[in-house]
Each structure stands twice: as C-alpha cells, then as structure tokens.
C-alpha cells in the first residue's frame, strides 16, 4: 500500500531539506583540492599576472632602454597618458590596426576560408587532401618564412609585378597595407578552411536533400540553409582570426617595419618601435597596455561567443 501522506513529490522542497538535511547532489568543496591547484596557480601568477601587472606599472614610468632613466626610472603619473592622447601616430596606428585585424583577419580570412571549404566539399578526395595539406602548410609556416615569400613576390622583379606586366613596380612599397593584409589572410586561411570544413560536415545532408526536392537551387541552399546554420561558426572563426591577426607582429615588422611612412604601423609594431628604436620603454609599455586591453575585450567576446554556441540547440539533432 502506498501512503499518499508520505509521497515525497507532494512535499515542498523546503520541507524536504528540513527533514533530510543538506542535499547530497550539490558540489562539495574539499580543502585538499587547493594543494592540487597550487602548481597551476603559481605558474599563472608568476608567469602571467605578475608580468602583466608589472608592465602596467612600467607604462606609468619614464623607463628608457639606455641612459640614466634605464636604471633610476620613476613613476610619472599620467604624463605618458597625456602624451599618448596627443600622439597623432598613435591614433593613426589604432586605425591601421583596425583595418588590419578586421579587413585581413576577420573578413578576408573568413571569406577565403569559407570559399575554399565550400569548393573542397564536393571535390575529389585526392584534390581535397592536396589542397587541405597545402592550406595547413601555409598556416604552420613560421611568420619569417611567410614574410620572406611575400616580400620576394611583391617587391621589384617579384612574381606578382612580373605576372601583371609591371616588372619594375614595387607593390610592397606602393600598397604596404594591402600586401601585408594579403599575406596575413593567406597564412590564416588554412586554419579557417579546416574550421569551416568541419562545420560543413555537420550540416545535415538529408535537410539539403529535402531542399533539393523542393527545387531550391544551389545558391538558395547556400544562402538560406548552409550559411544560417554556419553562422555561429563564422562568428567564432572571425573573432579567432581577429585575435590571431592582432598578434601577428612578426609578419609586418619583417616585411615593412611599419613603413613606408607609417603606412603599415599597427599597434604592436608601433609599441616595438617606441621601445627599441626610440628607447622609450615606459611609453612602449603603455602602448602594450592598450594592446592588452583591446585583446582582453576580444578574448572575452570570443569566450562568450563560444559559450553561446555551446548553449544553442544542436542543429543536426533536429
């Protein structure tokens, strides 16, 4: 016989807790876990938080690379910040950084990667393997090698000027920002291709067949079904490419040193130049702080997007 009065479902949750004590299925804290967390915490603090904190401090000092201020530097308050706010090169650098990371990183890489991934989707297996391998090679090449390839290909007598019939033109000098952007897009497109290829494999085939039976043509299937389903992947990939482009200091520094005339002077390059060419380490550190701020915001956006994507219902379960 079941006695209804003792039916646990009929009770309120509060009464249940009062009778049986704390819930067993709540996460419990064990002090010994602190010990196990300690090594990771020590590394994080020693190698990341302390250096970043110290560089924030340096941004408010008059530290120099050589000279008396290289040892006896002192805290100068907001002096560096006032200088920063009146520095025209800084504003131009911010603008160039935006053009570089958004134009080349977010937009360029995403479009190129998506086009390659879509083209590879129905390609022969052999073609797909060769092209994917090449794209991965382009992505894994060290920035120095990429810089040399694109430098050689775009300066006077390089393959691009010769191909287009102007062997004496120096494309890199005339269109510095365009060339470094192309080089960056070229090097990151392989990664984007891999991301999009994986996402395309998750687009349900039967759904596309259903659309074929509805007489939807290839363009309608792409724009109305595939791209909307890929939207979360496109956003995540674009943001990741933005972050990776932001850190791509080596490529630009090796190809143009931010020149000519500051045409490709993105923030990381400008910071390097301030510190190691003009020896103003304190000001360079402040520029570095701005970089940390911007990439911090981008990083938070990336994590947020990735989580939003995980929370979204899975498309292929429908």
């Amino acid at each position: 016989m079941v006695e209804l009065a003792n039916d646990p479902v009929a009770k309120t949750l509060g009464a249940l807790v009062a009778e049986n004590g704390a819930r067993l299925d709540k996460p419990r804290f064990s002090p010994s876990s602190l010990l196990l967390l300690f090594p990771a915490a020590a590394l994080l603090i020693g190698l990341f938080i302390y250096p970043v904190g110290y560089s924030v401090y340096l941004g408010f000092t008059n530290l120099q690379l050589i000279g008396p201020n290289s040892i006896h530097f002192r805290f100068t308050g907001l002096q560096n910040v006032y200088f920063l706010l009146s520095d025209h090169v800084f504003y131009r650098s911010i603008w160039l950084t935006l053009v570089f990371v958004v134009g080349s990183g977010a937009v360029g890489t995403t479009i190129l990667g998506l086009v390659i991934a879509l083209a590879l989707q129905s390609a022969l297996t052999s073609v797909r393997m060769v092209v994917t391998s090449l794209a991965i090679v382009a992505w894994t090449l060290p920035p120095a090698a990429i810089a040399i390839i694109w430098y050689a290909a775009t300066t006077q007598g390089g393959i691009f000027p010769v191909l287009f019939g102007y062997p004496h033109a120096d494309v890199l000098y005339d269109h510095a920002m365009l060339v470094v952007s192309l080089a960056n897009t070229w090097s990151l497109a392989g990664l984007a291709t891999i991301i999009f290829s994986a996402a395309l494999r998750n687009v349900p085939q039967e759904m596309l067949e259903a659309a074929k039976l509805e007489d939807a043509n290839a363009y309608q299937r792409l724009t109305r079904l595939v791209l909307p389903i890929l939207k979360p992947t496109i956003l995540t990939s674009a943001l990741l490419m933005t972050l990776l482009s932001f850190g791509n200091f080596t490529l630009i520094y090796l190809m143009t040193q931010g020149g000519p005339g500051g045409d490709s002077n993105i923030l990381p390059v400008y910071s390097y130049l301030q510190g190691f060419t003009f020896k103003k380490l304190g000001y360079a550190a402040l520029l570095g702080d701005v970089i940390v701020l911007i990439s911090g915001v981008l990083g938070i956006a990336y994590v947020w997007l990735a989580q939003a994507r995980r929370r979204a219902p899975k498309s292929n379960s429908v």
Partner: protein, 376 residues
C-alpha cells in the same frame, strides 16, 4: 496524382549490386508500402524515385514521362525523411513556406495555404516555434505538412514513424493512412515494420537483398506468401517452418511431419506434379489451435509438451515441443496451460504452406479459402 513504373532498374554502389533488375508498377492513387529488413534496397528504390540517386541502368516513368535523369526538384514529388530533415534555424511557418518561396509561387495566398496545411496536420498555434522547441510527434507533423503544402503528384515517406514512441506511432499510422485516403495521392511508404506495412498499405512490396519477392494486398501476402521469406517476414510471431517428407500416393499427397502422417488432395494443393520428396512445411501460430478452442474444420491432431508461454493479454503464444521440433501456437488469452504440461493441438491441412527447400518458393496453389472469400 500519378502512376509510377520501374523498368529494369539497377543500382550498383561501387562494386556492390544493391538493386538487380527491378520491375514494379505503382497504380494511380495507390498506397504502396515497401517492406523488408535493413539493407534490402527499399530506401534506395525510394531515393531513385525521388531523384536523389541515379539508377545505374533502367528507366523510371511517372505518368508515362521518363524521369530517370530528371533532377529531384522537377519531379513534383514530396518526401518525408526518417530524420524529418527540418530546417533547424527556421520557424515552423518558414519550414512550410520555404518550398513555395524558392519555387517562386505566388505569395498572395501563401499565408492561407500555410494556415490550411497547419490545421490539416494539427500544428495550429505552433507556427512560430523552432523545430528544437517541438516534440518528436510535432516535428513529424511539420515534415508531413511540408510535403502536403506542395500538393505533389507523389508522396514518398521513408520510415517516418521509426523515431516515435509506440503509442504515437499507432496514432500517426492511422492519421497518415486517413490523410492519404482523403487526398488520394499516390503514396510510397518505406518501413521495416511489417505491422505498419500490413495496416497501412493497399499493396505491399516485400524486398529482400535488392529484389522484390512479392507485391500483393496485405491479405494475399498473409494467406498466400510466394516464398518462405515472405511467409516468415509477414506476421508476428513468425510462421513455423518445419522439415517434412512428401510422397505422392495417387490423387493424394502424403505428408510426414510433426510425428504424424496426413494426406491432402494433391491436385487442389500443388501447382506442379513434379514434387520434391523433402519440403519445408509452414504453418502460422494462428492456424495451430488448442483442442479446447478449435474450429471444427481442424481435423489433424498433434501432441507435445509446453516449453514456454508468452502472454500479450489478448492472446497467449505457447511454444510446444512436438516430436523434438518446437512450434509456436496461439492459445486464447490466459489459457490454463503451464510449462511441462501436455498440449493437444489441431490444424486444418488447408492452412499449410509448402516451400521448396532450396529456392524457398511456394509449392502451393492459392488456398481455397481466400478464393471463396473473394467470391471467385
């Protein structure tokens, strides 16, 4: 509304012959069910009709128009997939209106059409939900609605009920059959479930290893299977298949089986006079009766020991060991019978099926009872 014919259709995947030389005619307005075990080629045949697979050889005609190489969207066919294949990022309304929109059909009455179809399949009030917010049965209805809004010549349904729970499946089975009756559209329905096939189809095509073994009405398939595979596949629990010896004795065929010898009129029973001596005898559990509960026409007696019983509520299936061979027999529900007891069984030789042991083809003419029922 349309008739369909497959003529000499082959489908070869790499080197695997999935469909060898298939011929089939589907009548206008007919509800035909393709049934068979997994991998028997029924879905491949459906996909060839839809245009999602191209036949290796042969031709497919819809209303005498050769559609073998016509792209799927130009065949005026609607299909419901096993996975439903809904557009996950679109609302139910957009799922329904996607087809008319991409086909550039007039937008003026599109809203009315969507509402009408939604009412027809019972989706009223759910039009603004996404597929992820619907239950399995509701998604199934969206898939059906998407097929209905097209008003196609032919409906194709590929195992549409296999993802639903048992109760809902029975309900949707009746609903789909009713919908087809009202609309009168030629419908091809693929399933591996013989109960679905028997309850829904006007005619059933039984597939095995890429071949159609028999195309017939449910009653004919059940009463007059063309071979052993059809006999055992259709009906639940399956037909008992027993080794038997057959000898010709004048006008009679003498059969030795189940520890008993009995005879049947050979001319009325067998199509051929040249009979093998070893045959396989088939008898359905429903035709093997308990003595206490048997029609008077059952003359042949056999005896055995009960090995196992299985009660479904409306009936009890009893596994009886007769002379070392186990046969399944249907007893009335909650029959007073226990494991280890002796059981007396009777049957009517008219209900027996005889199969050629190698090919599995039937040796029998059509049972007289069926002919009587059909008034021949």
């Amino acid at each position: 509304m349309a008739s369909v014919s497959f003529e000499g259709v082959w489908k070869v995947f790499n080197t695997f012959v999935a469909i060898p030389n298939l011929d089939l005619n589907i009548k206008d307005g007919e509800f035909i069910v393709f049934v068979g075990p997994s991998g028997c080629g029924k879905t491949t045949t459906l996909r060839m009709l839809a245009g999602l697979e191209t036949p290796t050889y042969g031709s497919i005609r819809i209303d005498d128009e050769d559609v073998t190489l016509t792209p799927p969207g130009r065949r005026d066919i609607a299909m419901v997939f096993q996975s439903y294949a809904l557009y996950p990022h679109m609302s139910v309304r957009s799922n329904l209106s996607f087809g008319p929109e991409v086909r550039k059909e007039s937008r003026s009455d599109l809203n009315n059409r969507v509402e009408k179809v939604a009412n027809l399949v019972g989706l009223h009030g759910l039009l603004d939900r996404k597929p992820a917010e619907l239950s399995g049965g509701q998604r199934q209805r969206v898939a059906l609605g998407r097929a209905l809004i097209r008003e196609p010549r032919i409906f194709l349904l590929d195992e549409p009920l296999s993802n639903l729970d048992a109760g809902l499946r029975t309900h949707m089975r009746a609903e789909i059959a009713d919908l087809q009756r009202r609309l009168g559209v030629t419908t091809v329905y693929v399933t591996h479930d013989q109960v679905e096939a028997m309850t829904m189809g006007h005619r059933i095509a039984v597939f095995d290893r890429g071949r159609i073994l028999q195309v017939d009405t449910p009653a004919q398939l059940y009463r007059n299977p063309a071979n052993k595979f059809v006999g055992t596949f259709i009906g639940s629990p399956g037909m008992n298949i027993l080794p038997a010896e057959l000898a010709r004795d004048g006008a009679l065929g003498r059969i030795k089986c189940l520890g008993s010898v009995f005879s049947v009129p050979a001319e009325r029973f067998f199509t051929s006079t040249d009979l093998p001596s070893r045959v396989e005898l088939g008898i359905r559990p429903d035709d093997l009766h308990w003595t206490k509960d048997a029609p008077s026409r059952c003359r042949e007696h056999i005896f055995g020991t009960v090995r196992a019983t299985e009660t479904t509520g409306s009936e009890t299936f009893v596994l009886v060991d007769v002379d070392g061979v186990e046969v399944n027999a249907r007893f009335p529900s909650f029959a007073d019978i226990r494991i280890g007891q002796k059981a007396d069984l009777v049957f009517d030789p008219n209900d027996l099926h005889f199969f050629e042991p190698e090919s599995g083809n039937t040796l029998r003419t059509e049972p007289a009872r069926i002919l009587e029922q059909q008034g021949v």
